[in-house]
Symmetry: C2
Subunit: 225 residues, 2 copies
Amino acid sequence: MPTSAAAPYDPTPRTVPTRARERAAYDRELVHRILDEGYVCHLGFVRDGRPVVLPTLYARVGERLYLHGSTGSRPLRGTGEEPAGLPVCVTVTHLDALVLARSAFHHSVNYRSVVVHGTATPVTGPAEKREALDALVDHVVPGRAADSRRADARELAATAVVALDLVEVSAKVRTGGPNDEARDLSLPHWSGLLPVASVHGVPVPSDDLAPGVPVPDYLTAYARP
Amino acid sequence: MPTSAAAPYDPTPRTVPTRARERAAYDRELVHRILDEGYVCHLGFVRDGRPVVLPTLYARVGERLYLHGSTGSRPLRGTGEEPAGLPVCVTVTHLDALVLARSAFHHSVNYRSVVVHGTATPVTGPAEKREALDALVDHVVPGRAADSRRADARELAATAVVALDLVEVSAKVRTGGPNDEARDLSLPHWSGLLPVASVHGVPVPSDDLAPGVPVPDYLTAYARP
């Protein structure tokens, strides 16, 4: 059944938290915004019955995530020893502030996270793989795919990309100040937020960059969506 | 057999990557430094045979990690329905730079990450739990535990903390500029690094903070180790 772009994701037993349910959200645009703001996810899978969590790069294209699969992970490479589809959990987290309450108990953090459950499948078709790699490069540095040499056939073959559809998805968000107990409000401790952000600095040219190659506009004006 | 503080972690099949082995490291001080610089980890475990990855806060005390366990995770709470010890993978990642090569293929990121495999166990003894909570608060904001109301017995009981010993541990680090192919060096594309960092901003007082409560020194001079 087709769903409109604005329809929320359907909650499932896996995406309804057992605690802090009021922080869970299934809004599609919110999920997309959180995903698009980052480019490093933490990819979890099961190997020999045990959990493995590895950081890797990702990009969203519509309702699909592409993940860079060269993470030392045999299962994701779909070599034939393992099934081509691998159950995964992909989590993206943005930290926004430390929340300092008067009581140690009410200390918290403001954050936005997205958790995606599903089955990752290797991208093997050259056309989709090329599109996925372009998306990965452009998701991290918008404008860069067109300003770099595209992968040739050998490089394409040497790059592992996996796809994960956005079906079983939830966001979790905490905002606002500390929630102190009324009895604690008169305590002498400072309370409030310490904002946190990920920032991108001034581009540093390679040692072997030829003189006269300018820093591209997409780097001097670099900003996440 | 006791090991000196400087002895590296012993590699295991789980901590030797199948790719980019030259980036793997087992140096204890490097691992500690990476862990101490951050405070949000991604915690992976297996639920009903499927991977789950959740962000949570952690602190290192010697060769032990304490994790804030109020993550909506039944298994970590050790309720009795589940075994008290849970196989986990804890991953901490710091992103340092985007690496822009002339070729799309050699694009990369500079990062430092630590992966810990092991069995998380609930901290139930009140003394260790209190110590762990102090460590968590002080790890995120050094100096804050002493400048807040400590948890009372009810709050202690309502807080889940789990411990994970640093035994099966590895770090992975990429540094330096892009590694372009010799044939690509004459291409017209800019190449180099775009630095990335996590920064902490100016403290924002709570709406209900009494006038005259000063911003504590540990916030105005806030810095990660």
